[in-house]
Amino acid sequence: MKAIYFAWIRERIGLAEEELHLPQEVKTVAELVDWLVGRGEGYALAFENRQSIRAAVDKRHASAHSSIVSAREIAFFPPMTGG
């Protein structure tokens, strides 16, 4: 599964994207965040305020409870400021 990071989440993690090999018990967006936070300081900093994190599963807006079981691409980003 591919993970993509945007804006200050990308900067804090220090990666634009990476290939993840997840343990079977990681089944939702929220569980994925927990798992990522355990990977190191950059991740912990990126996800320190979960209220301000948005996620997309296969390029569609997702919530913390959304399933990632059959996802190919998960993106994490701050609230959008386009337009």
Partner: protein
């Protein structure tokens, strides 16, 4: 048939050309709205606004917003162009064009599209300053969320 056109691009756009294309030779259009969002200079002065986007998802989200607008109001067509990359003060960022028979539908749908773009389309803005100060990411405005809520409360046209 409603003509919806969405582009996400690095290059600048020409609003008048897009407008001509949208009008083509139709004679049933009574109202055309054009909204242009520009890079506004600030204090301290900006060298540029950097627009990051999620390629693929950006187009899809904007198309969904355009489709939703065309299902809520009787419009003939809409063209939405959103730029990414480094944009200097005074330069254009986003264009929303809507053509309709009547002004009410044109105004409402253009405003709806812009409100949704602001909060649903995966774009992020980073400010770079002329004086070399640390660049920073722009946080969303509370007003943008409020603007969105207005459309969710009133599902009927004209609301």
């Amino acid at each position: 048939m409603v003509a919806l056109k969405v582009r996400v691009q690095l290059e600048d756009f020409n609003a008048q050309e897009e407008e001509k294309r949208l009008l083509s030779d139709r004679r049933d259009i009574g109202a055309i709205i054009s909204f242009i969002g520009l890079c506004r200079d600030e204090e301290p002065p900006l060298s540029a606004l950097e627009l990051e986007h999620y390629a693929g998802m950006a187009e899809t989200e904007i198309e969904a917003v355009a489709k939703e607008a065309s299902s809520r109001w009787p419009i003939f067509g809409a063209t939405i162009i959103h730029r990414y990359g480094m944009i200097k003060p005074g330069e254009q960022i986003v264009l929303t064009l809507v053509a309709a028979a009547h002004r009410e539908a044109a105004f409402a749908s253009a405003q709806f599209i812009m409100d949704y773009l602001k909060t649903k389309a995966p774009f992020w803005k980073k400010r770079h300053f002329l004086d070399g100060a640390a660049s920073d990411w722009i946080a969303p405005k509370i007003e943008d969320d409020l603007a969105l809520r207005r459309w969710q409360e009133s599902k009927s046209p004209g609301g």
